[in-house]
Symmetry: C2
Subunit: 611 residues, 2 copies
Amino acid sequence: MTGKVRTAEELAKGQKEISIAEFFEKNKHILGYSNPSKAIITCVREAVDNSLDACEEANILPDIFVRVDKVNSKFYRVTVEDNGPGVVEEQIPRVFGKLLYGSRFHTIRQSRGQQGIGISAAVLYAQLTSGKPVRIVSRTSPGKKAVKVELYINTKKNEPEIISKEEIDWHLSRGTRIELELAGNYVRERKQSVYEYLKETSVVNPHAKITFVEPDGTVHEFRRVSEELPPLPREIKPHPHGIELGQLITMLKTTRARDLKSFLKQEFVRVGDKTAAAVIEKAGLKPNLSPQLLGREEAMAILNAFMQTEFLPPPTDCLSPIGAENVIKSLQEEFKPEFVYATTRKPRVYSGHPFLVEAGIAYGGELSENRIQLLRYANKIPLLYQQGGCALTKAVESVRWKNYGLQQSKDELPVGRVVVLVHVASTNIPYTSESKEAVASVPEIIDETRLALQECGRKLKEYLDRKERLVKKKKKENVLRKVLPLLARKLSEIVGEEELDCDLVVARIVGNVYVRRVVGNSTARVEVYNFTQSKRKLKVYEICSGEVRVEKCEGEVKLRTSDRTTLVWELELTPGKKAELIYSFQGRLVNRKPVVSGVEEELLSGGEVFG
Amino acid sequence: MTGKVRTAEELAKGQKEISIAEFFEKNKHILGYSNPSKAIITCVREAVDNSLDACEEANILPDIFVRVDKVNSKFYRVTVEDNGPGVVEEQIPRVFGKLLYGSRFHTIRQSRGQQGIGISAAVLYAQLTSGKPVRIVSRTSPGKKAVKVELYINTKKNEPEIISKEEIDWHLSRGTRIELELAGNYVRERKQSVYEYLKETSVVNPHAKITFVEPDGTVHEFRRVSEELPPLPREIKPHPHGIELGQLITMLKTTRARDLKSFLKQEFVRVGDKTAAAVIEKAGLKPNLSPQLLGREEAMAILNAFMQTEFLPPPTDCLSPIGAENVIKSLQEEFKPEFVYATTRKPRVYSGHPFLVEAGIAYGGELSENRIQLLRYANKIPLLYQQGGCALTKAVESVRWKNYGLQQSKDELPVGRVVVLVHVASTNIPYTSESKEAVASVPEIIDETRLALQECGRKLKEYLDRKERLVKKKKKENVLRKVLPLLARKLSEIVGEEELDCDLVVARIVGNVYVRRVVGNSTARVEVYNFTQSKRKLKVYEICSGEVRVEKCEGEVKLRTSDRTTLVWELELTPGKKAELIYSFQGRLVNRKPVVSGVEEELLSGGEVFG
């Protein structure tokens, strides 16, 4: 050992307080500012997430304007403007100029922002790299003027420093605008870009209108496709099964409740008279105890009693799913697949936090690349980064996709012309870091995601199986179509009988609906055979250039007349049955073959499928 | 749109400050407390990292005691005790009871701790789950008494609250002890466990002694294998290429330097008279300007001038590598492989932060599983979690291991009986989150890691190639040994000449060193042939039970006599040459064949390799 021992006193001189702003300034990559191109995306994301949250909380259909301007080769200006409620003047400095300040941290409700860090971190990064203050414009009602504020964050103190403040005229009657200048790099490549972030955001926020102007002036408009605001998730109290001892002790100390029983009923969700009494009894306490006087031992007893008591799961109106139908619609619109399915699972709980999982799958069609696209969302925010470190990805990898007809190496993403969408909504998304890029491995979330994906997988498998069966059937049909006529001709030559209707025979063998029209002199006979294995409700359409008269009909016939006459024959056929329609007509038949609805194209011979 | 618009004023009511302690209480998984078994490991890690840092800073060889006790099925007590400098009494509360407080955040030097979060986060987690305060014992010199403090963190304020404080007798003359009770789950399985963390820590800290007592009483001792403390990394000033505009503006405002030139020279590393003058000229400024009066424009000009100026890279004595030799020793000891190699790269810089990468590889031998083991280290801390999300892993995956003789699927870890160790040391490790589990994707770090790994790969390849060549050679040799004698006998039968020395012929064909002893009546002749392609320095040992006299010798001979006589013949042979030694002896020859050193076993025929 060499040298002198240094004492605690000598070493103590270096001890210092670190402000949270200093901390994040040094560790800016933790907040999503690890490189210049990501920095721009992160800034846009923080601002847009805020706008969407604010509009929804204020009950306003969001109309958001995003613009990225190039200042010079290293610097960009990001502007985000919304028609939301605005921010009251006194709070502008701290909302934008102080880390760990916000309204959503202390409430239990699904929202995009939860930590009070995002937007002030963007301000911090901007001033760190460009040295320029943030510029905010806010207007809280048409009756008031807008206010424009420029400010810095004092990083040593984590407090805002206002540079200028003035009332201005503004084109919006209500809203917020933020302007940041920052070191950045603008990229347009497919996956990790402002465009992609906004597109994916728009996909799951059909009620938002987003306009995006790129540095070169290109304008993208992501239209509002739903005029309905999703219902605002309701704020709830903590659930007894989601509380830690330390938290409970704090709650006991700070509650306004006078006695233990009211404490339990007031401060927790799903605790009523009965359950409160049961908990108090199990804990060996008295209902009229003053909560403020209870210590660690009593808190521990209450916690144990909580664990031994059944409560209803937390109410789920604190969550706001996208909805399976919206997911299906979005996937269809975006990817034009041949198959799509989505499901919204029932809400569940992890550590007392309600959450729910939604999943969707799209297959084939215009999806050309043989490579999965995985779309991850948390509280309707698209997650563009850290796919590998995300629990949602792990859940997708852990599903045995081979069972569902996709190729897959063990514990990897499946391969195929496939898009998988996963959304987790919660009052408390367990992100792996402040940058909100990946979801931590919470077993309950992984399990629910797996279940949702397995449901999607089963539906995909059904589709693929049916598709395969139909392909096989078609092959068989084609072979029969070639062989049978030869056979039939030979047979009729030998036996001398009338030639067989081969199409009918083929239809019978492969199990189709078969329709046949025999036209005589101004009359036609239409026959329908159901050789499938299920009962069919069918409609057969015949179109004639002149008048029509029904001579015989098994089923019901409606006539529609314009310049042509359309004959709509409605009938129901059990398997193996046949029905007949005879009509006389003037003029000529317009449709080459009878048109049929109520049966899939692959199961129909002799006619054409409607539509 | 439904319902009333809520105004900014209504929404503003929810706005609140969030304390950093509250924030981490809610987001404890970010700090490494995502599940009960990880919680114990993280607590131990934070305390041990602190102990190692403190001992090294105080110039004390660390002697660390770790104990995990089971309190009941849900709670464990973690105790960590060191012989470090202790913590001065006034600072105990804030060091352990306030997040973002510490001595290492504001200094530029390699250390395990850097954020002032770790140990107080452990305290926070403990009190949150068990409701119990932390217990600290600290003694700063043998002349003083130890002090014992119990405290909580007030999470609403992020300030310590002292429960009790007293002077006590203590068995250590200097040191710190911390005792935490927390909800946890103790696991012993191989990879992610307290044992594994301590073992991996010990591997790269050969100067530390660590004693570990498991809950069941099992004691593990990780011995000190080096009595030398690694040199304490030196603190440095920021490097001009590692500074952001915002930081520069703050430095200008807060410096004590009177003029711009002294500012540059005093506040930055690698800036001397000449470079300072050059920077000032390029920035279009005057050297005698007062730094405090310079604004954003001037700061920008200085920054641009920095970028256009060449500086020496930052000094590297702020870094403390493990050392390639230590890595090799550790890998050998731990895994008993047949091949091992390690390299320490030269220091480099990313964003002005010095860093260096070390890598080691071990292959075969007692490594039985055909599966890679990847050991990741950052500033000598083993990284047990988030392998998938770590830049070091990405670097390993991105190397084309097939070129180096290992199997690998594209962009995955290689497969084989192989251990890969990677260590990155830096004044500022870019962790992906506060839990210090993974290194963020900094291109410079990934590049350096790749280079280090490629060097290891090349050495492995050389070894594997040589091994393969030797295997082939052995095969050839074996074939020759079977065939030649038959051939030779046939030949001598026909020609009638003396039979060939087949061994000599084989040795010549395969290119070996060949040694032959011919024993006559109390004399022996030893011949050595060098059929290899390189010059050889050889020693040949002959051992005799009685006296020995050298009759003829090409080279040099030494005699060692104890109860036996050892004859050491030193000779140098160029390729194709032969040398001879003749000696007479009494008694009997002890060694069956001549023993040879200076040639690998695979390249020797006729003798035995020494050792």
